[in-house]
């Protein structure tokens, strides 16, 4: 019952073929850019570019929305809550007791929501086009210790497993008449013990088994690891990296050299 799925989807697009190192660097640069850009219109341009990449990676809209549905809810929450807690700026549109709604605050809320949208989408593209194996290989190649890479790979691999496990445990306890959302705060936290204990116990049992499985395959027997598949940069990878660096650098030059607001 694949309620939780690995985001990676096999396909043959230039983003899928791209060297994972280039993808990681690109995603980092684009994320950084999303933080440095303060102007809503520039952010929208960035979002449009990211959506173009999404389109090129052949992610269907329905799958993307399904994967990002919590992000979309989070964005709505930002748009709604920001003006309520940010009373600065003029003109003031409405005053409700201590709450002051101002026009700039509304725009700041929208800007932050778009920024979150940019970040989520750009990372979604990375996860959508890069298998976890490639991702870890890239990180290790970029200097991350193999142990950490493996730990990361295992965590990523088991996230959906534990998601499904928790759902199953919730179902198992609901079948015993447990109603998680019912009662006061104390009763509710008590209810969650019935989910938490089996989750932790099952997780520990899984971890134990996994450690044995790793050892039985001689994990750590050699300090210098060899790899079945190595990563090589191709011309297209250098070109892509160049394009992304340019996309990152141009607004930076505009801002810090020519003092143009971005």
């Amino acid at each position: 019952m694949a309620m939780f799925i690995d985001l990676y989807t096999e396909a043959d697009t230039f983003l899928h073929r791209m060297d994972p190192r280039v993808k990681v660097v690109s995603i980092l640069l684009l994320s950084l850019l999303a933080f440095l850009v303060t102007n809503l219109y520039s952010l929208l341009v960035l979002l449009a570019f990211i959506f173009l990449l999404l389109f090129l990676s052949r992610a269907t809209l329905s799958r993307t929305l399904f994967a990002l549905k919590f992000v979309v809810r989070f964005m709505l929450l930002i748009v709604i809550l920001w003006p309520l807690f940010d009373p600065t700026g003029t003109p003031v549109l409405a005053t409700l007791g201590p709450v002051k709604i101002t026009e700039p605050a509304i725009w700041r809320g929208v800007t932050s929501a778009v920024r979150v949208g940019c970040l989520a989408t750009v990372w979604y593209i990375l996860m959508f086009t890069t298998s976890q194996r490639d991702l870890v290989r890239a990180l290790v190649k970029m200097g991350v210790r193999f142990d950490f890479g493996l730990a990361l790979a295992i965590s990523l691999r088991f996230l959906p497993t534990f998601g499904a496990l928790i759902e199953n445990i919730k179902d198992a306890q609901r079948a015993r008449g447990l109603e998680l959302g019912k009662g006061g705060l104390l009763k509710r936290s008590k209810n969650y013990v019935a989910v938490l204990v089996p989750t932790i116990v099952s997780a520990l049992r899984t971890a134990d088994t996994l450690a044995l499985a790793l050892q039985s395959r001689a994990y750590g027997a050699r300090a210098d690891r060899t790899y079945l598949r190595d990563l090589t940069m191709r011309a297209a990878d250098y070109a892509s990296l160049g394009v992304v660096i340019a996309i990152f650098a141009l607004p930076m030059i505009a801002r810090f050299v020519f003092d143009i607001g971005i």
């Binding site: 199953n168 079948a175 015993r176 008449g177």
Partner: protein, 285 residues
């Protein structure tokens, strides 16, 4: 050894599923028009290969999953309007992995959890807990922490914790997985007693030997539909259909098919029957 089917019309329907479809979030269609009526007191096995929709169907029967379309009536009421906790009084569900249910400090507390949630008065709860502990012969272990027990014992605790809610129907998902032959036989004997008590047992399993020995009715699921609904004898005589559903008939049934040319009947489902026919043919009886 082989229980004879009780005439269906003489009994009351406890579960009535019509044209049930279920689509998971994300688009996987697990059930595609299931029709199934279960009467009180039946011993039913739902079988099918992996991904055939067994677990989805089972979760629909106690309201954990609500139909995408179609209806599931439990004791005459649609599951759509009922909470899982309300349905738990009628349909108990013991999950495959007992470790997904056990969390209390002692076996007794564990068994008590369900009836307490259902809000029975204390003396009723106590009585139900006692009955369940006895039914799964856990008296000796009642003060033990359930998580430190052996798998067979943990499975019995998890089943007792469902029995303690005193349901009309109990659904068991692969109850014998990981048990040795003796533990499995003991568990199945205890379930038989529960069934003899007039309660309904729904077994979800891959194990055709278990089905042949215990169930009175077999429902085969394939691709989210009921592909066969019959007594075990009828079900296993159609080898092709069973195999198309990614199942393997009991070894003794396969053996009887090998002996077809020597006049062995094709609907043998127990070793006793096989021996009986063999002796009969040789003039031994």
């Amino acid at each position: 050894m082989i229980p004879s089917p009780i005439p269906e019309e003489s009994r009351q329907k406890i579960i009535s599923v019509s044209d049930l479809k279920y689509v998971y979030e994300g688009g996987v269609q697990a059930l595609n028009g299931v029709n199934l009526k279960v009467s009180k007191g039946e011993y039913l096995a739902i079988v099918g290969g992996n991904g055939s929709g067994k677990t989805t169907l089972a979760k629909s029967l106690n309201g954990l999953l609500k139909p995408t379309s179609g209806t599931v009536l439990v004791a005459g009421r649609s599951t759509i309007g009922l909470r899982v906790a309300e349905l738990a009084r009628i349909v108990g569900y013991a999950f495959q992995n007992p470790d997904h249910q056990l969390f209390c400090a002692t076996v007794e507390e564990e068994v008590r959890f369900g009836p307490t949630n259902l809000g029975y008065p204390e003396e009723v709860t106590a009585a139900k807990v006692e009955k369940a502990i006895e039914a799964m012969s856990l008296g000796r272990l009642r003060k033990e922490p359930p998580l430190s027990l052996r798998l067979g014992e943990r499975r019995r605790v998890s089943i007792a914790s469902v029995l303690a809610m005193d349901p009309e129907v109990i659904i068991l998902d692969e109850p014998t997985t990981g048990l040795d032959a003796e533990e499995a036989a003991e568990l199945m004997a205890r379930l038989r007693m529960f069934n003899d008590d007039g309660r309904t047992v729904v077994l979800i399993t891959h194990d055709m030997k278990l089905v042949a020995e215990h169930a009175r009715r077999v429902v085969v699921l394939a691709n989210g539909r009921v592909s066969l609904d019959s007594d075990p004898r009828g079900a296993f005589s159609d080898l092709d259909l069973i195999r198309q559903s990614n199942l393997e008939p009991p070894a003794v049934t396969l053996l009887s098919h090998r002996f077809a040319e020597y006049g062995m009947p094709q609907d043998i489902i127990s070793p006793e029957e096989f021996v009986l026919h063999l002796l009969r043919q040789r003039g031994g009886i």
